[in-house]
Amino acid sequence: RKNVEDFTGPRERSDLGFVTFDITADILNGKNGLQTFCNENTLSIFDWNVKQLFLYLSAEYSTKNNALNQVVLWDKIMLRGDNPRLSLKDMKSKYFFFDDGNGLKGNRNITLTLSWNVVPNAGILPLVTGSGHVSVPFPDTYETTKSY
């Protein structure tokens, strides 16, 4: 993690975090919470009214400056017909992980969660959070070498 000028917008110096991650997920239709059939068709979230899923990995944490921060690090569009099982390794974040301030240094508790927006063919647009999340601590010092 480094402390650089946030070149994507505000011109103050902010912490910029670098995270690499693996994602393994099975996006199932957890409507009832119970899966009584061990059948590909019933388990998949892609029923007749699901056009696509917009998946995103967000980092949530607290800093001295802000009680709650959420930054989307990575996203992916999964269309009907794509494999609902994800197994991604060694991914780098798609978007720059800038904090609003210097709150990443020494921050022990950054929670990464995978969520998705269900886009129907017509109807309600729910946001679902996947179960399971990972906590990532950031080190106490800045890096001076390029890590990407």
Partner: protein, 195 residues
């Protein structure tokens, strides 16, 4: 109740339907005309009441919006209809689809929230980006503006219907179509008879 005009055997004479319409119009007396106008006014008032009701119930100044650009494809396309709510206590969270207006501009933009920074006192600032865009929306905001705030939000997208909003876009792009539609509606309402 006696109808003032006849609905019967005069049809079929020369000129057909157009002549009949004009005939009806001439035969309508003042009372009937007022009645028709009042009927029309009631329909318009009811529609307005329903719209205002929706504004109150959803908390959004514009509870139904039409998607104007392709920046949220493949989820939403130009012409799709979005249903919004804007409850005061609903927090703004990453991943939500919000409709916002940039200060000084009239056009609402439908994009997704990708960054949220909320202070303990409830003060929120957030950043948005269209799914189909490479970069975030800072280029769309006002000069020097880096974040959006709650006051810029028109509503959060809760539901959607595809294609239905195309009618509004066509009426906007082809005003002649809009006038033609209004003329037809007006003629229908004024000449419609309850016999």
């Amino acid at each position: 109740r006696r109808c003032a005009g006849s609905a019967g055997p005069e049809r079929g004479s020369r000129g057909g339907i157009a002549m009949d319409l004009f005939g009806d119009l001439r035969r309508m007396n003042k009372r009937q005309l007022y009645y028709q106008v009042l009927n029309f006014a009631m329909i318009v008032s009811s529609a307005l009441m329903i719209w205002k009701g929706l504004i109150v119930v959803t908390g959004s100044e514009s509870p139904i919006v039409v998607v104007l650009s392709g920046s949220m494809e493949p989820a939403f396309h130009r012409g799709d209809l979005l249903f919004l709510t804007n409850f005061h206590d609903d927090p703004i969270r990453a991943g939500e689809i919000v409709v916002f207006k940039v200060e000084g501009r009239d056009i609402p933009i439908v994009h997704r929230v990708i960054k949220v920074h909320e202070k303990g006192n409830g003060n929120i600032k957030f950043l948005t980006k269209g799914d189909n865009n490479e970069v975030d929306d800072r280029g769309l905001y006002k000069e020097g503006q880096n974040w959006l705030e709650k006051k810029d939000v028109v509503g959060r997208a809760r539901g959607f219907l595809p294609y239905v909003g195309m009618v509004t876009i066509i009426m906007n792009d082809y005003p002649k179509f809009k006038y033609a539609l209004l003329a037809v509606m007006g003629a229908y309402v004024l000449l419609k008879r309850e016999s």
